[in-house]
């Protein structure tokens, strides 16, 4: 067990001069009461990536993010953010953790000024301008002077994103950034994330919206009850789950036999269609073989699994929260 001190200049156990924005080794959090929220997590978030952090409710995403931000001390394991000590890394990290939290009696702009004042590296001289820019980026300029108390759910969420964009950031950690946003807001966040990533900033985003992650991210990791079940590029994650070939035909039995002869695995005859794992086979060869065997092929499709299929396959179908 490696203790990590939260104060400035703490020696980080894992701080290799790697190209990764976030690295964790065996990162574990056991809360008082014995609940293991994060279990031996080995995460590697490449610099410049848009990294989706997926997992069902209670799988340990927020707890991981809290550890990366130095809010919660790991029970075991090490982590490194931007390869720097916490005091040097955090000013370069913009964060949204478990929803917005602001002073209800202050305006949006005054709230941002408050958090800017808390950053020891932020310059006071440029604060007003940076606050105005951040508000503009999330489309809140018009509501800058309005009290936070009177903000709608989506406006609050936007303000939290604005707070994450206050300074020059190398890394954005966004815990469910589209929570409570209307469809436009969701799209704008997606656009914003892409735009920020285009500037070279690494974005680490947790979300339940798989389609969202699929559209936005270059990489993803999937958590289940505190454990990492998969991580990699979106393409590699999807390829980890095999593509299927689906043959629509009235001659189900014949088609199944042909596919079996070709050496396709997991041949499943169904109602008017046969599916099998595509493996390394070329679809056109399969088609030719089927036609050669006199099977009436009405349709032949290669079904690539969506991220949602991957997610459900790895985390289970059940709706109940684990642990």
């Amino acid at each position: 067990m490696t203790a990590i001190t939260l104060e400035a200049g703490a020696p980080f156990g894992a701080a290799p001069p790697s190209g990764d924005a976030i690295v964790t080794h065996g990162l574990t959090k056991r809360f008082r009461g014995g609940q293991i929220a994060v279990d031996a997590l080995d995460l590697a978030v490449p610099r410049g990536s848009v990294f989706g952090f997926l997992g069902p409710n209670g799988s340990g995403k927020t707890t991981t993010i809290r550890m990366l931000l130095g809010l919660v001390a790991p029970t075991a394991g090490t982590y490194s953010v931007l390869g720097l000590s916490a005091a040097h890394a955090l000013p370069l990290v913009g964060a949204l953790v478990e929803g917005p939290a602001f002073y209800p009696y202050l305006s949006g702009a005054a709230n941002l000024m408050r958090f800017d004042a808390a950053d020891p590296t932020a310059e006071r001289a440029t604060a007003k301008r940076r606050v105005a820019d951040a508000l503009e980026r999330v489309g809140l300029s018009a509501a800058a002077g309005k009290r936070y108390r009177n903000y709608s759910l989506g406006m609050r969420q936007r303000l939290a994103i604005a707070a994450a964009l206050l300074g020059p950031r190398e890394l954005l950690i966004l815990d469910e950034p589209t929570n409570g946003l209307d469809p436009q807001g969701t799209r704008e966040v997606r656009t914003l994330v892409k735009e920020i990533a285009a500037d070279g900033t690494t974005v680490f985003v947790s979300s339940h919206l798989l389609a969202e992650i699929e559209q936005m991210c270059t990489h993803a990791a999937i958590m289940r009850t505190g454990r990492l079940v998969a991580q990699g590029t979106i393409a590699s994650l999807s390829s980890g789950r095999v593509a299927l070939v689906k043959v629509e035909t009235p001659d189900v039995a014949d088609a199944a036999r042909t596919l079996g002869t070709l050496g396709l695995a997991d041949v499943r005859p169904g109602n008017g269609a046969v599916t099998a794992e595509l493996g390394g086979h070329a679809p056109e060869k399969i088609n030719a073989a089927l036609v050669g065997d006199g099977v009436a092929v009405r349709g032949l499709a290669v079904v690539r699994p969506s991220l949602e299929d991957v997610f459900v396959g790895l985390t289970g179908e059940g709706f109940d929260v684990d642990g």
């Binding site: 955090l90 000024m113 408050r114 808390a118 020891p120 892409k194």
Partner: protein, 316 residues
């Protein structure tokens, strides 16, 4: 402007450097430059900036202003009450207290302090100090302050200093309100002390200043207790009530004659020691003992607060 910007078409205000541009500028720096420590001068400035932000929140918050207003009201009510009592006159049994206050405008200040220092001032100070960490934890703003990163030790120091400034503000409000009320209602001139000697008005004002310094220090010690309790909870009411219980238990213990030996260890015992300024010459030994007790409380509870807060998991 990169093509990405034009494609996504974000609105730009002419003349302003957009955030995106600042980001790219940062990237151009070699990593060593980014990881280079912030110069000490900047760090010092940043500390004062955060304290300024904290004071701004504290002194603009209506609740806190209302508390100060209540404190200001007490000497006024007290003064008017005594003025009426003295004016009804003819009463040979008129207590020495009323005579003292009615006899000189400055005495109302000392009287107000001896009333307020027992309960009302501790309540007011513990509301702000007890709210310091727990309030931020309760609203969730604590996690964003620490992620900023405010730094735990730095934030705790700012929070405590803020409570100390507020404690002194509360003390000054009482003194000013009592002084003004006294000057309006009662005759000025030389002040008769408890020891019977009279001192000049200027000397009297100086003694009020010493009183403010001393009582403020006592309230700062109480603030340390409240801030320490504040690091243990996410509910400010809990920390505030805890401080109140502490004060009341101390007062009860003090009232039990058999427990006289533990009285010196109880914080409120020392609050009323400011009456040392009403002796001639000033009983500096009494003030010194009180200040030492306050210092001990600040050290003890400051350490508890730091030990707790620096290692605490922020899960709110």
């Amino acid at each position: 402007m990169s093509t990405a910007d034009t494609q996504t078409g974000i609105r730009r205000t002419p003349g302003l450097v957009p955030v995106a541009e600042t980001m790219r500028t940062t990237e151009r720096h070699p990593p060593e430059e980014i990881s280079a420590p912030v110069p000490p001068a900047r760090r010092t400035w940043a500390f004062w900036r955060l304290l300024g932000s904290e004071l701004g929140l504290t002194f603009r918050r209506p609740r806190n202003l209302a508390l100060l207003a209540v404190l200001a009201l007490v000497p006024i009510v007290l003064g008017i009450g005594l003025w009426i009592a003295a004016g009804s006159g003819g009463d040979d049994e008129m207590s020495g207290l009323i005579q003292d206050v009615a006899g000189n405008s400055l005495m109302l200040t000392f009287l107000s302090f001896s009333f307020l220092v027992l309960l009302l001032m501790p309540v007011v100070v513990s509301v702000v100090a007890g709210d310091s960490i727990a309030g931020e934890a309760g609203t969730g703003t604590l996690r964003y302050l620490l992620a900023a990163p405010a730094g735990r030790t730095r934030l705790l120091a700012v929070k405590y200093l803020n409570a100390v400034v507020f404690a002194y503000a509360a003390t000054a409000v009482v003194a000013l309100s009592a002084l003004l009320t006294g000057l309006i209602l009662f005759p000025g001139g030389s002040v008769t002390l408890l020891s019977g000697t009279t001192v000049s008005m200027a000397d009297g004002l100086l003694r009020i200043l010493v009183t403010v310094g001393y009582v403020g220090a006592g309230m700062a010690a109480l603030a340390a207790v409240a801030v320490a309790l504040s690091t243990f909870t996410e509910v400010s009411i809990g920390a505030i009530a805890g401080t109140m219980v502490f004060i009341i238990v101390c007062q009860v213990l003090r009232a039990i004659p058999d427990l006289a030996p533990i009285a010196p260890y109880l914080l409120p015992t020392w609050f009323t020691n400011f009456d040392a300024v009403l002796r001639s010459p000033i009983d500096t030994a009494a003030l010194r003992d009180g200040l030492l007790a306050f210092g001990a409380y600040i050290m003890l509870f400051g350490s508890i607060a730091w030990a707790r807060f620096s290692g605490k998991d922020i899960t709110s």
